[in-house]
Amino acid sequence: MSVFNRSYREYKGEIKGRFFKIWSIATQTFRVQFSGKKIIFLLILCNLPVISFTLMLIFSAIFFPAFVREFFLGGLGGVDATMYTIINFSFNPGLIFLPIVFICALNSGTIANDKKNNSLALYFSRPITRIDYAIGKALSVYMVSSFVTFVPWFVFLVTFNLLEGVSGLAIKTVIMTYLSTFASGFLIVFFMGSIVLYFSSISKQSVLGGILSILVLFLPSLVASLIAEFIEADWIQYFSIALIIVAAVFLIFGSPSTSMFGMNFFESTLSGGVAITLMITIGIIFLLMTINRLYREEVS
């Protein structure tokens, strides 16, 4: 490059492939969506269940005498049961609004902001397909959303393992727990994230997209409880997002026995298999709808 003011250099170097481009979109969007001071607040707020459990664990390790700890942890069952309990807790009908709000609020602008700022034209004039763009954005949504699922859960698990140690016999259980945690977390993220992604692509206003996705995630259970007034049927329960999530996680964790101090709080009555299939299918459908929308997008 010359020392003086301006020079223009030709480019004859390497050209990267498709995955690189998709990953670039994903990481850039992730960084943008995940920035700002509000994030810390939202992170803490929406992860309160996990955070409280983790803190309880740390506290009990530090302050309580050993027998209290053992009583407490014994009551919870093994590491897999404990993790399952936490997930259950975070996603039960009463508290599920926390992660839903997080996922919807942080991701509603993913595509909407690009539409508003007219940057779609910038992306689509590059050598990428619209599917590439959709996948890149979807990945960023999943990455952001993972911060209310398996990321904090892994933090808990690691804390647990550090404090309790891992005995040789339990290694297999521990590894399975990590895998199950990741699988559950990703399933949830895929399911909810794809829905939010779709609503983010229908309008320039991210707020609208966010509200619509929250509605879509809550309405089914409202509808279900209405229908339940008139019809007695088991399948109505599949309308509740909280319940199907719990059913899916129950299955993934291998139906752990979770008797907390003798009481069975968290067993699921729904079929985990159906729940998982539902979630994956819905996730794929919304992802495809998003791609379809993008292909129809007439960039102005």
Partner: protein, 338 residues
């Protein structure tokens, strides 16, 4: 790669048709009507009134829209089959502001570089280079949403250049810029075209800017080509097409007196604000005018034959086309050429 392509040809459009709305319904709009033309390497202008189909055509070339009929090759690549390859080699500077929210200029340009396939370090390096090239060196770490209009235009140009395209399509590059900004942008575009050999297709309503940057022009209206050619030739033909030659004269002094003197001498003229258009048929007119002014204590400050500019070509040819189609035309008054 098409093997029949003339080496110099950068764009070949054949019979492209695009209709919006339901086919065969009265509501449908024919945006492009079997339009066919070619463009050669160099700096080309794509001109036309609003609604002529320019933006539709550009969108089709970049695969944002699909044409209903017809074919086209950009840089020798078929636009339907080789869209990705085209977007690799062609840069687009859109008319509207395009900001990737929440990032600063270097990050935005480098992201777009990566999306074009440049490896991470190269993309970042080129982002810095192109931003410096367009004059945004000091501002490159600032958040893009704080940029002024002029800065945004330069940013758009930088990101168009980051992947070193062979051809760039510029949509209203000088829109919204103040006079100094326009001059800078024009200089940049000229440099890109002349010194770095990057082909241009420029679309703009500011015809003097087009005259400053482009060599060839294609004028379209109602989805079809109206005129095409080298700008200097088009304006030359336009000047010659006016029946009588006119000399543009500006004076300092008593206007009434001068006009009276012209009348006495039997010299036909027209008056526009402070400019006089004097009809003439031979060179002697200049001496006659100077003498007349001298005798009447008037200073002639300007005396040049009035020549057509691109705008005259534009207005005239489109009026002609409307005439042929039986559409009402507005009276084409003689405008004072500058």
């Amino acid at each position: 790669m098409s093997s029949l392509v003339h080496q110099n040809e950068i764009l070949c459009v054949e019979g492209i048709t695009k209709i919006f709305g339901k086919k065969n319904s009265p509501q449908s709009i024919i945006a492009l009507d079997a339009i066919s033309f070619k463009m050669n390497a160099g700096a080309n202008a794509l001109l036309g009134p609003n609604g002529a189909g320019k933006s539709t055509l550009i969108k089709i070339l970049l695969s944002y829209l699909k044409a209903d009929q017809g074919e086209a090759q950009l840089l020798g690549h078929d636009i339907f089959k080789e869209g990705m390859l085209i977007r690799q080699k062609v840069g687009y500077m859109p008319e509207h502001f395009a900001i990737i929210p929440g990032v600063n200029a270097v990050k935005q340009v480098s992201l777009l570089g990566r999306i074009s396939g440049l490896p991470k370090e190269e993309a970042m390096q080129r982002a810095h280079e192109t931003l410096q090239y367009v004059g945004l060196n000091e501002a490159r770490y600032r958040k893009v949403k704080e940029f002024s209009t002029g800065m945004l235009q330069r940013l758009k140009l930088a990101q168009t250049l980051v992947n070193d395209p062979e051809l760039i399509i510029l949509d209203e590059p000088t829109n919204g810029l103040d006079p100094n900004g326009r001059i800078d942008m024009i200089e940049l575009v000229k440099e890109i075209s002349k010194e770095h050999g990057i082909n241009l297709i420029v679309s703009s309503h500011l015809l003097p800017d087009i005259e400053a940057t482009c060599e060839f022009a294609t004028i379209i209206n109602k989805g079809a080509v109206v005129a095409q050619g080298k700008i200097s030739e088009l304006t030359y033909q336009e000047t010659r097409s006016v029946e009588k030659k006119n000399m543009k004269v500006e004076i300092r002094g008593d206007l009434e007196r001068f006009l009276a003197a012209l009348q006495t001498k039997g010299i036909p003229f027209q008056l526009f604000e402070d400019t006089i258009l004097v009809q003439y048929s031979d060179e002697e007119i200049s001496t006659v005018l100077l003498k007349l002014a001298y005798e009447n204590d008037i200073q002639i400050r300007t005396m040049v034959p009035s020549e057509a500019i691109l705008e005259d070509v534009f207005v005239h040819r489109i009026a002609d086309m409307n005439n042929k189609n039986g559409l009402p035309t507005k009276e084409t008054k003689i405008e004072v050429p500058k």
